[in-house]
């Protein structure tokens, strides 16, 4: 199991990387953390003829909080996110999701940009980005553009980022006070891909009424899935057990996962209900206004 031969480009700047992509377009792939791409190459499922290594690009690894937005350089390692006090304080959901990404050794190399651009439907970061309505910034020869999460994921491992564009930044909104969140996952073993991943975010006002709810799922379709219908069940309501259960039921009814080696489609759908409900309960209990419920 050895990779096919490729031309190696060690990019030292964003411009460098974009230039290499422009020259090779469909034949080139970005090498970020390599934790998904290199296994595919070792299996020879992927055989890019040019590999553009962005590990040496300056200025793509940072975590910044500005004006209600958390911005991450695309090459920020998942391990750095796990250790970041800013993330722990401003986006506990991302921290919780990060701890579910493989193992520490994987997170030491894996990057936030790489995970999102790879767009594995079972992965954690794409589901978080979608749930929080985050954005990604991409740069190509024709300049920079911002892609909202809702327009990013097309299908399995496929995004609307063009082959000649480089993802440079990931932006997540900082959630208001009164917000609770949870990321729960069902998997066969610790560190495995999610069979079902459920993201729940609720913002509750001082009276205990849900002002805003966000639910996203991983592992049950060709992309991460947002459950707007279920969210509207929660909005404007006291988050009672019945309301949470109804929202969870809505989520399960909205997805049609297929069978795979580890679980049947029916099972996955039932687990959507179970894990959304559990995640919602946890999110509600974490919003700091539970006494009002």
């Amino acid at each position: 199991m050895k990779p096919s031969a490729f031309e190696y480009v060690r990019a030292t700047s964003v411009a460098d990387a974009i230039d290499a992509l422009a020259r090779h377009e469909f034949e080139a792939k970005i090498l970020a953390g390599g934790q998904s791409l290199v296994p595919l190459m070792n299996f020879r499922l992927a055989a890019p003829t040019v590999l553009v290594d962005t590990n040496g690009v300056d200025g793509l690894s940072y975590i910044k909080r500005t004006n209600g937005t958390l911005a991450f350089g695309a090459m920020t390692r998942q391990g750095a996110i796990e250790d970041s006090p800013i993330v722990a304080e401003s986006c506990p959901l991302l921290l919780e999701a990060t701890k579910l990404v493989g193992h520490r050794t994987v997170r030491n190399r894996g990057t936030i940009g790489g995970s999102i651009a790879h767009a594995d439907p079972s992965a954690e970061y794409p589901a978080v980005l979608l749930a929080l309505d985050g954005d990604v910034v991409v740069e190509g020869a024709s300049g920079q553009r911002v892609i909202p999460a809702s327009e990013l994921f097309l299908t399995v491992c496929t995004t609307s980022i063009a082959p000649n564009e480089l993802l440079t930044e990931v932006r997540l909104p900082v959630l208001p006070a009164g917000t609770g969140s949870a990321f729960l996952e069902l998997n066969r073993r610790h560190g495995d891909w999610a069979i079902v991943g459920a993201v729940a975010v609720v913002t509750v006002d001082a009276r205990g009424i849900c002002e805003e709810a966000r639910i996203a799922l991983a592992g049950v379709d060709a992309t991460p899935v947002r459950c707007h219908a279920a969210e509207s069940v929660l909005q404007g309501e006291h988050l009672t057990e019945q309301v949470l259960a109804e929202a969870a039921r809505q989520c399960a009814g909205a997805v049609h996962p297929g069978d795979d080696l580890h679980a049947t489609g029916d099972y996955k759908r039932a687990m959507v209900r179970v894990f959304v409900e559990r995640a919602l309960r946890l999110a509600r209990d974490r919003c700091g206004r539970i006494e009002n419920v």
């Binding site: 469909f26 992927a46 079972s122 299908t155 491992c157």
Partner: protein, 148 residues
């Protein structure tokens, strides 16, 4: 693996029938189709370059129409091989007129073998659904263009 679904066309049943069996149209609608050539009655050879994310490969294969009942039903068998292994299967499509348009109900039994089957089965169904979906949405596009 079973791929099954329905696709709605805003065109007459005869028109859709003609579209679906026109090699020229089909070759432009099959994702990544680089070549589709007739090698006899109802038999074709094709070369496809399929790419999903970082995974891509060229497949060469054949397709043969095994049943033709114009304008309502046809069936086919196909097989292809490439670096990731092989794909083979059989399927059929049933056309019916409905509310001024045409519904195509299709069903395929697909066997994927080799490397992709042994290491990629987690995403296989999603990918197949996406590729078939792409093909039909392009076909729908053709039908729309003609209608317009």
């Amino acid at each position: 693996m079973k791929i099954k679904g329905e696709s709605e066309f805003k065109a007459s049943q005869q028109r859709v029938w003609d579209l679906l069996l026109d090699p020229e149209v089909i070759s432009r609608c099959i994702p990544g189709c680089q070549e589709l050539k007739a090698v006899g009655d109802d038999a074709f050879e094709a070369r496809l370059r399929i790419g999903i994310g970082a995974v891509s490969g060229t497949y060469e294969g054949t397709l043969r129409i095994t049943e033709r009942t114009p304008p309502s039903r046809y069936a086919m068998v196909f097989e292809g091989t490439g670096r990731g292994g092989f794909v083979k299967g059989s399927g059929h499509a049933d056309l019916r007129a409905e509310q001024g348009g045409t519904i195509v109900a299709y069903e395929c039994d697909v066997e994927v073998g080799g490397l992709i089957a042994s290491v990629g089965q987690r995403v296989l169904e999603g990918v197949s659904g996406f590729l078939v979906g792409q093909m039909f949405s392009k076909l729908q596009g053709f039908a729309r263009e003609e209608a317009a």
